[in-house]
Amino acid sequence: MLTHLRRELAHAIWQLLLDEDLMRAYTEGEAMKLFDENMRAMFPRFLLYSADYPEK
């Protein structure tokens, strides 16, 4: 049960983190200015996710 709850909690927090804003940026890009003052569309991509098992 402890394992189950911990996993549920970790997933619930990921639900919170992967909100609509991030998802929109993922598909449409987020316009932002870099230091050279040019507008660019930024696409976040998850390169890796490294973590220990949340249920442990």
Partner: protein, 482 residues
């Protein structure tokens, strides 16, 4: 960035470290100056050697005239050859190691001396400059357009180059890069200097302006000084603070050194005023004031639920999530029907906001927003070899970039140049104490566009804190989360 590097040869100034190092290798004035200095040195050394040889011959002749004493002349020779060794040593040190050292002066016997070189294991090859990205002229003009229109209020989009592979020049190690979709619009290696890859004590270090501070991983508003108008709270004035800090710091017993400190750090301090202490000044009351202040602050932290450094202006949000809880002895039709437990007090930041923050830091000048592949060609006949080193030279980053270019984009940002922010999440339980079970479950975010050599340095503080996961503990009958 503000430092102007000046060429010692032709006195030309350079703002850009990369341009400066390139100039150093090809400056003619500097080269001829070095050559003439070397020649002068050579002539001097030869003169010195000649004088020594003459002196030695004269002494030998003198000795031969008197009693031939082989031991003396032998030891003299030894001494002389030691001198020669020292001379050549100095020569080796004086001449830059990259150049071939001038032929050392011959031995007194007339035979050539040994050339002294460092053994291979002690020779330290410095990292080379990254390959030069020379953008073709027609593209340069293209690139300048948005810069000229910077004055306009509306930000101009960058024209997207046609999809042609762009290959850079090779650097001194024979390494070159291939960009899949034309030259990059930002080349972070322009700010490359030797000190950004090497921290040898013999190399002059640039002041690193893009270094971020430890608190930047929590957000930017913590950059502001914490104190408001009264920097020495809870004390009433600066003089009291100085005196009390002298009392509490350093040694508890009085010594000459302590009294010296009292005089120099407190009484002679420019902010110290005797008038700050009223007739009713009491050390006990000041100490009490400080004691009272500590618990009130910590209780305010827990009550106000804004513990430092979680500030709402940095995007820290306190949220609650609910998780379905299994119930012993009850069966529910679906997970939705199960009772839910609400977990309060989860601190997190919106990842998108954090990414935007990460790309607005000064360190972004060194971010690679265009991925590329690095190759090395040992010689003309041999096939090129791929070099894997950074995230932005890897396959995943390149493939993702190609997919992004291949797909037609929609939405308001479809006209803008697209780039990928490679984000990497990392999380691990962190024990806070050596004994006991206090631990945190933080979630960090790293930006893959940054060089791994910077990213992996704890002193660069490149991790961005995203969230803190509470820990679930279980008792025999109930569970709790904190």
């Amino acid at each position: 960035m503000g430092n102007l590097s000046r060429c010692p040869g032709c006195k030309q100034g350079f703002l850009n470290g990369r341009a400066y190092s390139v100039h150093l290798t090809c400056c003619k004035t500097l080269g001829s100056a070095t050559d003439s200095a070397l020649k002068k040195h050579k002539i001097l050394a030869a003169k010195k050697a000649k004088a020594k040889r003459l002196e030695f011959a004269a002494r030998k002749a003198l000795a031969a005239q008197r009693l031939p004493n082989p031991t003396v002349s032998g030891s003299q020779e030894l001494l002389d050859s030691d001198d020669q060794h020292m001379d050549t040593d100095i020569n080796v040190n004086d001449v830059p190691p990259a150049q071939n050292s001038p032929s050392p002066p011959p031995r007194p016997s007339g035979r050539p001396n040994r050339r002294i070189r460092l053994p291979l294991r002690y020779r330290d090859e410095l990292p080379p400059n990254p390959p030069i990205v020379s953008v073709p002229k027609e593209l340069v003009e293209y690139d300048d357009e948005p810069v000229q229109s910077m004055g306009h209020a509306t930000p101009e989009s960058i024209p997207i180059h046609e999809a042609t592979q762009f290959c850079t020049e090779t650097n001194t190690f024979g390494i070159y890069r291939k960009y899949a979709f034309g030259p990059p619009t930002i080349n972070p290696d322009e700010s490359f200097t030797l000190s950004s890859v090497s921290d040898s004590v013999s190399i002059a270090q640039d002041p690193d302006s893009s270094k971020s501070s430890w608190w930047s991983s929590f957000g930017s508003s913590t950059l502001e000084p914490v104190g408001n108008s009264n920097n020495f709270a809870p004390f009433l004035n600066h003089s009291t603070f100085l005196l009390m800090s002298w009392y509490y710091n350093g040694s508890s017993t009085k010594s000459y050194a302590e009294v010296d400190k009292l005089i120099h750090n407190v009484i002679r301090h420019e902010d110290f005023k005797a008038s700050d202490f009223g007739a009713s000044f009491s050390t006990a009351r000041e100490a009490e004031r400080m004691d009272k202040d500590q618990p009130s602050k910590s209780s305010a932290k827990s009550e106000k639920s804004h513990p430092l450094p979680f500030k709402p202006e940095d995007g820290w949000i306190q949220a609650s999530v609910s998780i379905p809880v299994p119930c012993d002895g009850f069966i529910f039709k679906s997970e939705q029907d199960a009772p839910r437990f609400v977990v309060n007090g989860i601190w997190y930041r919106k990842p998108l906001e954090v990414i935007k923050l990460a790309f607005s830091e000064p360190a972004v000048e060194k971010f690679h927003i265009t991925p590329f592949k690095e190759y090395w060609k040992p010689s003309k006949d041999e096939p090129e070899e791929r070099i894997y080193s950074e995230t932005f030279t890897g396959d995943v980053f390149n493939e993702e970039y190609e997919i992004l270019h291949a797909t037609s984009r929609e939405g308001p940002n479809s006209k803008l140049e697209a780039f990928i922010a490679g984000i990497m999440f990392y999380s691990d339980t962190t024990h806070l104490t050596s004994f006991g079970t206090a631990c945190l479950y933080p979630m960090y975010m790293y930006v893959g566009n940054q060089s791994q050599y910077t990213r992996a340095k704890p002193s660069e503080f490149t991790a961005h804190h995203i969230a803190y996961i509470p820990k679930v503990f279980i008792h025999t009958d109930y569970f709790f989360i904190f």
